[in-house]
Symmetry: C2
């Protein structure tokens, strides 16, 4: 047999994949930053998880802080835009809209790898103030704005009773964010069973029922 058979034995030590690297590094970094926090995450571990060496990470990101900022900015923004667009499409009774938005939010954000971002930002807010500002402005407040519109619509249409919409929205959103944070922190240590879907259902039931005006019709 010619040498060609031997050639298949020698295995490449690595591949050159300039285009794929940044995304893979961001993915690995997101997972580890969410799990351990910024300071406790070793770049060596990020590199290993992304399937390359630490030195190579520095080919794509200036330093650890830059990588961290990139994780938040580049992973969050595209997703939040998608959510916003989806949300804009919905029409119908406010009550139903709220339900749909909540379920949708959970399946798009809560169950995706993005669900760790709230925990990450809560943890690192004071170490990365400008990122915290970015997140509040570009994510939280935009989500609030969407829900405020829906609630106000419900009130205008007589479905809901008059109330302080700005605070009602926070009450509506808090359990969603909480659920995401919980999943990535203390949930694994909680012995009591708990189903996020049922939790969200229960929240929606009490919240919507609590907002209905007396003549309010249920769906």
């Amino acid at each position: 047999m010619p040498g060609s058979t031997n050639k298949s034995i020698k295995k490449r030590r690595w591949k050159r994949r300039k285009d794929a690297r940044p995304g893979e590094i961001l993915d690995a970094a997101l997972m580890l930053f969410v799990e351990r926090g910024f300071a406790a995450t070793k770049l060596d571990d990020v590199a290993r998880k992304a399937g390359l060496s630490k030195g190579s990470v520095y080919l794509y990101f200036e330093n650890k802080e830059t990588l961290f900022r990139a994780v938040v900015r580049e992973m969050v923004l595209p997703e939040i835009k998608r959510v916003e667009q989806q949300v804009d499409r919905y029409r119908g009774p406010a009550q139903e809209l709220v339900r749909k938005l909540v379920y949708q939010w959970w399946s798009m954000v809560g169950e995706s790898r993005l669900s760790g971002v709230p925990k990450l930002l809560v943890s690192e807010a004071s170490n990365f103030p400008e990122l915290a500002r970015f997140f509040v402005d570009q994510v939280i407040r935009r989500v609030r704005r969407v829900f405020v519109r829906v609630l106000q619509q419900g009130i205008d249409r007589g479905e809901f009773r008059e109330c302080d919409v700005n605070h009602a929205v926070r009450v509506l959103i808090a359990p969603l964010v909480f659920a995401a944070i919980w999943q990535h922190s203390l949930y694994p240590f909680d012995k009591d069973p708990y189903d996020v879907r049922v939790f969200l259902d229960t929240h929606l039931d009490t919240f919507l029922n609590g907002l209905l005006n007396e003549s309010g019709q249920k769906i």
Copy 2:
């Protein structure tokens, strides 16, 4: 005048205060750990904040991890016991009891230095699994138990409609914990005004109204 007046001029370089040190170190450590997280907190900073030198911290705590565990265990347990006792004293209609418990929880936990602990544990759960387990068992689940009792009482007395009490309790508590976490993380970066008291009021209004029997059956 006698020389005694001159004596007051020479100033001591430090005081020996064996008894007061541990508490002061724990206080300083709690504040910094909550603000920055475990890994990003330098023992030098803790020492400075506590008014002594780093070397002295090691006279009272074996190492940084031991200090961290002590912060959580020794600051949380006494407070949680106090809350539990206070809670046990209350009697009255379930609705009113829930309101009182929530307000009380906020003024005892939410507004005290203890309010940072939920954020701290959420952030460090996966780095300190046995502390996470401790916190869930000794704090979260005990708080839940108290509220479950109250809600069940309300149902038995016919005030509230039948519902999944275990999930309802989580819905009731989530915004409380969320508020505490929020205060210590993203709140300072949020431009929209927000009053925790009003937030809690709004939550109580919708939640309790949503649970009331007259309002109709669960969807």
